[in-house]
């Protein structure tokens, strides 16, 4: 192809090269130079993602963008309804005969995730550069590798590279937990890596099976999609392939009961790594289900949806109750992030435009809010030297800004209107009502649970009287949020609020790009409802009362 756009390769390549430079030469560099390299590595993907987002939302569906880069309307593009593949880029790596080419591109589903990866990467990077650690250059370098992999995951259109980038981002996490992580890191890192490799291997098998069964002779998502759509639901042994993908991806997303790696892993991980993994990388599996498994095997979800719905309810209710019982702030956050995955699974189970759209929005919002919470809980730890609720109290007198941010992030996590999480959960609940009303009720119970543990954590940390043991620490001056902690939090919360008040920024793109799989299988009225949902929210950003969240 002659009309490659270099935007996506730059978002993946710059952090990779910066990370490589820092790892290989970081110790011999002047400190300011190393810091500058790290800045470039963290900033370029974030700015690129925002720029891509801007271009995308400035050009409504159907209008050509980058005239020279869009080839004539091929059948595949028509099937995808919109100027689907933004910023296409394709390179042969020598395995073209196996259908393996490096092919990048964005659509409305991957764009929110791409933006999420950029924003969380930048926030984690700023935070990492403002904490003093052992061997900072190597630390930044490994974080940059994670950013590079995360950008790659959501930008790749080739299923092989989709997998490749995810695994690539996983290994730096292992080293980061081991070297810079907290106590228990040795066991947690190993458990996490083995679990995630198992999940990744299962999904790789599923992807290979999909490749061979689909008959498209390409790993390219667009051409596989074009092949699957005309012959809807006739992929031989599709049920088994879907099962492989479901459980492979499910392990990666900590689907109950395959979640045990997540809370311990996040508790042991250094904060920026936890932000990136819980915020971005964990969405890989959900994104895979949404973008690959369901659209390419339409109709197969029906055979699995009840099992998946039960497991997802397990995430929401069982893990919700487990979260309630936690006494350690960071472990609680780990469990709560596992719990929230349940909502997204429930959104996908519905196989409707509303559910899928809600799931994408919720993935975006959850990624930002969980990253903010991990960051702020580390800020709390810096001041209290403990994660134990029992030993804290009264911090809000000393650090009002921190407590305000923490409360905001907690509200976002609960799904209060005004934050992007609300729209995600709203969409999921509406879609779930069609699927099964009593399941909606059970899921709504989860919102109550998350409100309880979130607000209880806030009250234990920030309000009340400091415990006696704590009093000595409080007699010394405790600083409020430093700029290095404040700015990343502002970036994350700002993005949450922006999308919370203007969800059309994302939902329009999602609407355009939702694969037909989500529209064919439901009565047309449902699809109309989706459009209404999106247009209403765009027109009237001030939300009504949340569907299920009780006022705290």
């Amino acid at each position: 192809m002659t009309s490659d756009s270099l935007i996506l390769p730059q978002a993946i390549g710059v952090p990779f090269v910066a990370g490589l430079v820092l790892l290989v030469k970081g110790r011999e560099m002047a400190p300011w130079l190393a810091r500058a390299v790290a800045w470039v590595g963290f900033l370029v993907p974030a700015l690129t993602a925002l720029c891509a987002w801007w271009i995308f939302s400035m050009h409504p569906a159907g209008t050509p963008i980058f005239e020279q880069s869009m080839t004539a309307a091929t059948p595949t593009q028509l099937l995808w309804r919109t100027p689907e593949m933004l910023f296409p880029f394709e390179r042969d790596i020598g395995l073209g005969f196996l259908g393996l080419t490096l092919k990048l591109g964005l659509n409305g589903l991957s764009l929110p995730m791409f933006v999420l990866a950029g924003i969380v990467g930048l926030a984690a990077g700023i935070y990492a550069m403002n904490t003093s650690v052992d061997r900072p250059q190597a630390y930044w370098g490994l974080l940059l590798f994670i950013v590079s992999g995360a950008m790659g995951v959501f930008a790749s259109l080739n299923l092989f590279y989709f997998y490749f980038f995810h695994e690539f981002a996983l290994i730096p996490t292992f080293i980061l937990i081991g070297w810079w992580g907290g106590p228990g890191g040795r066991a947690a890192a190993m458990e996490m890596t083995i679990y995630l490799t198992l999940g990744a291997m299962l999904s790789l098998l599923g992807l290979l099976a999909l490749f061979f069964k689909s008959g498209a002779h390409s790993f390219d998502l667009v051409s596989m999609h074009a092949w699957t759509l005309p012959a809807t639901a006739t992929v031989p042994s599709g049920h088994k392939i879907f099962g492989l993908l479901l459980f492979g991806f499910g392990i990666l997303v900590s689907l109950w009961p395959f979640h045990s790696w997540a809370p311990t892993g996040y508790a042991a991980a250094p904060t920026p790594a936890a932000m990136l993994h819980a915020g971005v990388l964990k969405k890989f599996g959900l994104y895979g289900l949404l973008q690959i498994a369901v659209p390419l095997l339409p109709g197969e979800m029906a055979g699995w949806s009840h099992l998946l719905a039960w497991l997802a309810l397990g995430n929401v209710v069982v893990i919700g109750l487990v979260t309630l019982a936690q006494r350690d702030l960071k472990v609680m956050l780990g469990y709560s992030s596992v719990m929230h995955m349940g909502y997204i699974f429930l959104g996908i189970v519905c196989v409707s435009a509303m559910g899928a759209g809600g799931a994408v929005l919720l993935m975006f919002a959850h990624g930002l809010s969980v990253a903010a919470l991990f960051l702020l809980s580390d800020a709390v730890f810096q001041r209290t030297r403990t994660y134990d609720f029992g030993a804290m109290g009264g911090l809000c007198k000393k650090a009002p800004v921190l407590s305000a941010f923490f409360v905001a992030a907690t509200f976002a996590g609960i799904g209060l209107p005004g934050f992007a999480n609300f729209w995600g959960e709203f969409g999921v609940f509406v879609a779930l009502w069609k699927f099964s009303p009593w399941m909606t009720a059970a899921a709504a119970l989860g919102v109550v649970i998350s409100a309880i543990y979130g607000l209880r954590a806030v009250s234990r940390i920030f309000y009340g009287e400091p415990s006696p043991a704590f009093q000595t620490l409080f007699d010394q001056p405790v600083a409020d949020l430093r700029p290095g902690e404040r700015w990343p939090a502002i970036i994350l919360l700002g993005a949450l609020l922006l999308v919370g008040f203007w969800p059309g920024l994302l939902s329009r793109g999602i609407n355009e790009s939702l694969p037909t799989a989500y529209q064919d299988l439901r009565p047309s009225g449902h699809y109309v409802l989706t459009l209404n949902f999106i247009s209403e929210t765009t027109a009237a950003p001030t939300p009504a009362a949340p569907p299920a969240a009780p006022k705290p």
Binding site: L23, V24, R27, D92, I93, G94, L95, F97, L98, R135, A138, F160, Y163, F164, F165, E167, F168, L170, I171, F174, I175, G178, W179, W180, G185, R186, A189, M190, T193, I194, T197, L198, M201, L202, L204, L205, L208, A209, F212
Partner: protein, 518 residues
């Protein structure tokens, strides 16, 4: 033999076809001469001459291949036979030559590090190394069982000495004895298989209508006979025995019994040579046989596929499970090498099932295995103390802090062996899985995946020792604590850095791999 055969045998242009092997042998002899002639102070230069010679041969070989492939009048696909069918020059064999040369270079590099720490004669080691490398190259290109066996025995006899090279160490001697006995056993099994096949091919076959058999030992004629028959039990037994003999060389279960002790006791360079060179030669031979004389349909369906599948399953499971509990890194390399042999056997089964490019996938896997293994062995050679066999996981504690460079190379090498993107090993595994899928080997795939997941534990466990912050409790009693790892000098850094960079490069871009092989 008639005079015409003598004429062909003595035609000098045929010897020219074997110039890399002849050159290696000549350099090997030159080393011994130089040791006699030169003053003892100048002996340092002799290994360098050996290494230089290998590099020159490698460059010349690559150049001649490039020159020939640019020549439009040479048929690149055809295989050329020489010495009355003893030797086949083919792209497949040329790749093998390059591979063995690279292996020999890597082993020389390790030997340079190793002999700095050991008070042992060096020159003979390099001499043996070159002779064995030349024999491996001949083995890969042999197309007749007599040459095949002679080359194989040259390799094996060379290894007997190289394994027991450290005469002062009881471990090395024990390893040498074990390798001698089991190697002799495997040679006997192989020879018995060859004789059975000779018997099948040499008896008159008037009813098969395949014309006269020119040389019953040659692969081509044997292939004709086997292809024209249906289910000859004698031939099946011969094929099975030959495969078992080769399975010894690649260390596949249940012929792996020698691997852990020999790998641990042998000097580290020899261990690497066994792990990479011997295994690669074994796979080249296996692929030659499976896609050549043994390709008859009845044979592959009734003997090859079941037998090799079982070998693969057992190797993957045994290798990975046995490596889990090991603390000696040389044993880890040996046992995990068994698992790697198992993965590659899956590719061989796919090739036997008719996936045309599966042989290339196995070769690519071997190539990635070479890069990853030599990276890891290089770090091992630097970390090892004077007691070569006692290389424990604990010696790697805090390597990432004390020697970040070695730690980084180790992480890349182990990551590649474990099959983690973007490193080369991942692409190798992917290609094998791909081939297995194409051949519908679903059970083997499931076993392979399970093996990969298990292998994460010991590869990453090793990485954990090296790169994680230590809890601060010395795990070894002070008396046994190893001396600090030697810091790599310039050329050592260059070599290790090149290996790591090549591992990364081959994981990101595969276009360099010759088109015809994949």
């Amino acid at each position: 033999m008639n005079p015409a055969v003598y004429h062909t045998l003595t035609a000098t242009n045929q010897w020219l076809m074997l110039w890399p092997e002849v050159m290696l042998g000549a350099i090997a002899l030159l080393l011994l001469v130089l040791e006699l002639v030169l003053d003892r102070k100048q002996h340092d230069c002799i290994p360098r001459i050996a290494i230089f010679g290998q590099i020159v041969i490698l460059i010349a070989l690559l150049g001649s291949i490039a020159y020939e492939s640019a020549d439009p009048y040479i048929d690149k696909i055809a295989d050329w036979t020489y010495f009355d069918g003893l030797v086949v020059i083919s792209p497949f064999g040329e790749a093998g030559r390059i591979f063995i040369l690279l292996t020999a270079l890597g082993v020389s590099f390790l030997a340079q590090i190793y002999f700095k720490k050991q008070a042992l004669p060096r020159i003979e080691f390099f001499h043996l190394l070159l002779v064995v490398a030349a024999a491996m190259m001949l083995l890969i290109q042999s197309a007749q069982f007599v040459l095949f066996f002679v080359a194989l025995e040259t390799v094996t006899v060379g290894f007997y000495i190289m394994v027991a090279y450290c005469r002062a160490s009881p471990f090395s001697l024990e390893a040498g004895l074990k390798y001698l006995i089991l190697g002799a056993l495997s040679s006997a099994i192989l020879l018995f298989g060859i004789v059975l096949l000779y018997g099948v091919a040499a008896q008159p076959h008037p009813h098969l209508l395949i014309g006269p058999i020119h040389d019953p030992m040659s692969f081509a004629d044997l292939g004709r006979v086997l292809g024209a028959q249906s289910a000859n039990p004698l031939a099946a037994a011969g094929v099975a025995l030959v495969l078992c003999g080769v399975a010894f060389k690649i260390g596949a279960v249940p012929f792996q019994i020698w691997v852990p002790d020999v790998y641990q006791g042998a000097p580290t360079p020899t261990t690497a040579f066994l792990a990479v060179g011997s295994k690669a030669a074994g796979f080249w031979v296996l692929l030659n046989l499976v896609t050549g004389p043994f390709a008859a349909l009845w044979l592959s369906q009734q003997v090859l596929v079941p037998l090799l599948s079982w070998l693969a399953v057992l190797s993957i499971l045994f290798g990975n499970l046995a490596a889990l509990g090991q603390h000696n890194v040389k044993r880890v390399m040996g046992l995990s090498g068994i698992a790697h042999a198992g993965y590659m056997l899956v590719g061989v089964v796919a090739a036997a099932q008719g996936v045309s490019w599966a042989a290339g996938a196995v070769l690519f896997y071997l190539f990635t295995y070479l890069l990853g293994s030599f990276g890891v062995f290089g770090v091992m050679a630097y970390v090892a103390g004077a007691r070569d066999e006692a290389q424990e996981l604990e010696h790697y504690a805090d390597l990432g802090r004390k020697q970040p460079f070695l730690g980084g190379v180790l992480a890349v090498g182990l990551g590649s062996l474990a099959g983690i993107p973007p490193l080369a090993g991942f692409i190798g595994k992917l290609l094998l899985f791909y081939a297995a899928f194409q051949a519908h080997l679903y059970t083997l795939l499931a076993v392979s995946i399970l093996g990969v997941v298990i292998s994460i534990y010991y590869y990453f466990g090793w990485m954990r020792e090296a790169l994680f912050r230590q809890p601060g409790i010395p795990t070894l009693p002070p008396a046994e604590a190893a001396e600090p790892p030697t810091k790599p000098l310039n050329w050592g850094r260059v070599m290790l850095g090149l290996l790591a960079a090549a591992t990364l490069f081959a994981g990101l871009y595969q276009g360099f791999f010759p088109e015809g092989l994949l």
